[in-house]
């Protein structure tokens, strides 16, 4: 559904008037969203004092990370918006880095004395007495990978709810077997201020929109769930540009189709993965092993393999935090390194790892913009952003037609990997048998397992239909990511775990 732009402006005006009655820090609905300076966070002199204190016992560099998030969320369940949530989270984290070591402390809110005390705690990590110098501050401007035409804070809740309501109806109208539709909507504006003793000074605002549609279908006591997730770092225009109703119908189609599913087969077989979130296989099976912390600890099977052939010639794997407005895009990572496109594997050759400042230094590489953290309550560590397998030359239809027998996986719910062994697992949500080059019966109840390195070397077809899928990645702390790929065939190396 397209929203009429005038409707937007009207609702915006009404809400701004309402917000004027209750000014203050929680003015989620006011036009300003987050305005630096108005919040009473630390000024330059205070920042400098904290950075110096954090280096008082030694260390390579110190850092202050200031964050403020204003969020709105609601959920439509059983046909009604039964509750809504508004939130504000603000605080500051101080870090002292010394080789591979981190001292970290954070405080809620922006209080100079408490932040200064936090610096004393973070300083505990070093006892070298040798501190890196304090450079003159130099502000960096944003690379602008995230654009906002219509701030989420300018859009009335009723407008957001209207969109969700229409999508809910679209899912229900799809098929009478649909029994439950749950849609969660979340948006926020995050303001970050990052300063370090090397002179880095950054202020950045980045919005996020996240919609999760869950549909349950039921027939003769058999139940299945379909899901579709949509997300971007973008203004509300994101939801104008995509078709939320169509997304709801896709989730409904999954739930309904899978009611007819037969038990999944078991054993090794060729697996063809649908474009998009199927890329999570690359994320888990390969990506985590290319994160700098696992590499420098020798805990990754990819340690010491730069320049070596680790994958089929068809494999070019990229992590790109500069992809415009994508859910994994950063503008700057959470240590202030600008987003960039990093080629990890090029035509099968291992080209690079993903680094934060510490792993880059330890492995004598340049930072890649992968130092990320869930919030001011967390230390930045090497994390993926938008990670995807690049397009190949094949056509989707041909890849399927060329597969005599196998499994076509349309949707995976997610998985995990053991970096030390490269063993991964995934739970399949929607899959079909491929018989004589044709997609046939839906099958359910399967997981996929294998080793990342086996998958990389056994990819024998890559199509030209790359899509990114949105998700969330946990590694002790959660960050938004995308995983993507075109249609891909893994000819062997994946074991399907069904009951048939």
């Amino acid at each position: 559904m397209k929203i009429d732009r005038r409707e937007f402006l009207k609702s915006t005006a009404a809400i701004s008037a309402g917000a004027a009655l209750s000014p203050g820090i929680l003015s989620l609905l006011s036009g300003s969203g987050c305005s630096p300076g108005a919040r009473g966070d630390l000024d330059e002199d205070q920042v400098a004092a904290v950075l110096e204190k954090a280096l008082s016992k030694g260390g390579d560099f110190s850092e202050v990370y200031i964050e403020e998030i204003s969020s709105t969320s609601f959920k439509m369940s059983e046909g009604s918006f039964s509750t809504a949530t508004v939130g504000i989270s603000q605080g500051a984290g101080v870090r002292t880095a010394d080789g591979p070591k981190n001292g970290y402390a954070y405080v809620n809110g922006f209080n100079f004395q408490e932040t200064f005390d936090a610096a004393e705690t973070s300083a505990y990590i070093s006892s070298s007495g040798k501190a890196g110098g304090i450079a003159d501050p130099a502000a960096k401007s944003s690379p602008g990978y995230v654009t906002v035409e219509m701030p989420v804070s300018d859009v009335a809740e009723t407008t957001k709810m209207g969109l969700i309501q229409n999508a809910e109806q679209a899912a229900r109208d799809f098929n009478p077997l649909v029994t439950q539709v749950d849609i969660e909507y979340y948006d926020h504006m995050k303001r970050r201020k990052i300063a370090n003793s090397n002179g880095l000074r950054i202020e950045n605002e980045i919005p996020l929109i996240w919609v999760v549609i869950n549909v349950l279908a039921e027939k003769n006591g058999v139940r299945h769930r379909g899901r579709k997730r949509l997300s971007a770092h973008q203004g509300f225009e994101f939801l104008e540009e995509i078709d939320l109703n169509e997304a709801a119908r896709i989730a409904a189609a999954e739930a309904v189709t899978m009611l007819e599913a037969k038990p999944a087969p078991s054993g090794k077989m060729p697996v063809v993965l649908h474009p998009g979130w199927g890329g999570v296989l690359m994320h888990e099976a390969v990506g985590h092993g290319l994160e700098g912390d696992a590499v420098f600890r020798g805990a990754s099977i990819f340690t010491g393999k730069l320049g070596e052939k680790v994958a089929s010639d068809l494999v070019t794997l990229v992590d790109d935090s500069s992809w415009p407005n994508a859910r994994g895009t950063t503008d700057f990572d959470d240590e202030g390194t600008p987003g960039q496109r990093n080629i990890l594997i090029e035509k099968g050759i291992l080209k690079g790892y993903m680094h934060d400042l510490i792993s880059a230094k330890l492995l004598n590489a340049a930072p890649t913009g992968n130092g990320r953290r869930e919030s001011y309550r967390h230390i930045p560590i090497p994390r993926m952003t938008n990670t995807f397998l690049e397009n190949g030359a094949a056509k989707r239809e041909d890849v399927i037609a060329d597969t005599k027998n196998g499994l076509f996986v349309k949707a995976l719910s997610g998985g995990s990997v053991e970096p030390a062994t490269g063993e991964f697992n995934f739970d399949v949500r929607e899959a079909y048998l491929i018989e004589n080059g044709k997609i046939t019966t839906p099958v359910s109840g399967a997981s996929l397992i294998g080793k990342g390195i086996d998958v990389l070397t056994n990819i024998d077809a890559v199509a030209d239909d790359l899509e990114l899928g949105v998700g969330i990645c946990g590694k002790g702390q959660w960050v938004p990511v995308t995983s993507g790929q075109p249609t891909v065939r893994v000819v062997t190396g994946i074991t399907v775990g069904g009951t048939a």
Partner: protein
């Protein structure tokens, strides 16, 4: 306390029919040691304030870390405005005050006086014990600990007052064993309310590093039907899915495979499941849930028969029952929702070694990859690491295989429940044997 009362009063003054204020204050210290040296020290004071505002059967939730008067006032107004935009829900109610039971002994602040250096020395020793455990252990991801002291204040306008302190201690180890170019992680953690309830360093190392030595270099077995023996290392694989299937809201909505099956014997008679929030010193014990409903011990599965679901106040009202004290907030900023506390499969009489000795063809499962049980349809599928059993003898480590079963084969096929349970996490289980599962290889 005064602060929280003041906020509750403000909510009522702003026009709420009823309201609830939840205030969480924590102190956290976490340390990581790697290669004999402190690698990370983190100190923090997490927490924040949350409000639920009810007016005309409509409700909204708000949370903030900014406790200034102006900000909190603003939040309350915003919450009121948001509530007005939601739709009426006759079941959106707050609980009345109840009687909180005996002291559960969940607070231990004896570590406050211990120096950071001493805590670091404990971790250095833990890591060293792990590295020295066997020649095959050759890399370390470090040892770590965390200490959290929490202060919860919960008030509602019906007169509920739930105020208590708790503590939570975790210790973990992560090393890697290597054999002929294969690596396997020796890792895991233990948790307790009292630091002294944690097992000694030697036991933690023995528990998790020995597993890596048993499992390193695993290879697939041929596919087919096997007896599967789940060890207490993997309670998660069954209980995670069951925690959603036994959630009263999922039961009402039909998103649980157990929906509508109350009173039915869906599992073998050996299966008994509890969610016990009043277990003394239990890692998830609490005097009241996070709406202030007194905690209790809920028996959910009795000799294989489903006896009930977990409810919070709203879902209980909707289902025409009583709250089971199962409302949980994962953090100050999370909406309260139905969840488990100390959730476990009760121990039986079988001995794990007897079960293994009488197994003709099976796999002892010591590590699970994936969620295991899917709560919507009861199907089980996961990747595993374990040990192959032939005629009662351990043959070789197994890797790169899946195990799967439908709900009938899985739950009715339980062939043994052993006596070897230990409570070091929210989910606990003794060794459980399933007679027949499909192995994919």
């Amino acid at each position: 306390m005064e602060f929280v009362e003041k906020i509750l009063d403000k909510c009522m003054d702003t026009g709420a029919d009823s309201a609830e204020v939840f205030n969480l204050n924590q102190k956290n210290l976490s340390l990581t040691v790697r290669e004999g040296r402190l690698e990370t020290i983190q100190k923090s004071t997490p927490g924040g304030l949350a409000v639920r505002f009810f007016k005309d059967n409509k409700t909204a939730f708000a949370h903030t870390t900014d406790l200034s008067d102006r900000s909190v006032n603003d939040m309350i107004h915003k919450t009121k405005n948001m509530a007005a935009k939601t739709e009426p829900d006759e079941f959106a109610i707050l609980p009345d005050p109840g009687q909180y039971g005996r002291d559960l002994d969940i607070f231990d602040d004896s570590r406050v006086g211990v120096s950071t250096d001493e805590k670091i020395a404990f971790l250095v020793n833990l890591e060293k014990l792990a590295m020295d455990y066997d020649m095959l252990v050759d890399k370390s991801n470090g040892s770590w600990c965390s200490e959290v002291l929490s202060d919860i204040e919960l008030l509602n306008s019906n007169g509920v007052k739930s105020i208590y302190k708790s503590s939570y201690y975790s210790v973990g180890i992560s090393v890697i064993a290597s054999k002929n170019g294969n690596m396997f992680p020796g890792e895991g953690s233990v948790n307790a309310r009292h630091f002294d309830d944690l097992p000694p360093a030697e036991k933690i190392v023995d528990k998790y590093v020995s597993r890596a030595l048993r499992l390193v270099g695993g290879t697939p077995v041929s596919g087919g039907d096997y007896e599967i023996i789940f060890t207490p290392y993997v309670p998660f694989s069954m209980l995670w899915g069951l925690s959603f299937a036994l959630n009263g809201e999922n039961a009402l909505k039909g998103t649980s495979f157990l929906a509508g099956k109350k009173g039915e014997a869906f599992a073998d008679g050996r299966l008994n499941i509890y969610d016990d929030a009043v277990r003394p010193r239990g890692v998830a014990s609490r005097p009241a849930d996070h709406e202030g409903v007194p905690s209790q011990n809920n028996k959910l599965v009795d000799k294989g028969v489903l006896t009930g679901f977990l409810y919070d106040t709203r879902t209980a009202a909707k289902a025409g029952g009583k709250s089971t004290g199962s409302s949980v907030r994962y953090d100050y900023n999370a909406n309260p929702e139905i969840s488990t506390s100390n959730f476990y499969i009760a121990p039986g009489d079988d001995k794990a070694e007897d079960v293994i000795a009488s197994c003709k063809k099976g796999i002892i499962v010591e590590k699970i990859h994936g969620w295991g049980l899917y709560s919507v349809n009861g199907q089980y599928s996961a990747g595993i690491n374990g040990t192959l059993i032939r005629n009662g003898k351990r043959v070789k480590p197994v890797a790169n295989v899946t195990i799967a079963a439908g709900p009938e084969d899985f739950f009715k096929g339980i062939g043994a429940v052993c006596d070897d349970i230990a409570f070091y996490d929210r989910f606990s289980s003794p060794t459980i044997m399933i007679k027949k599962m499909k192995v994919g290889a």
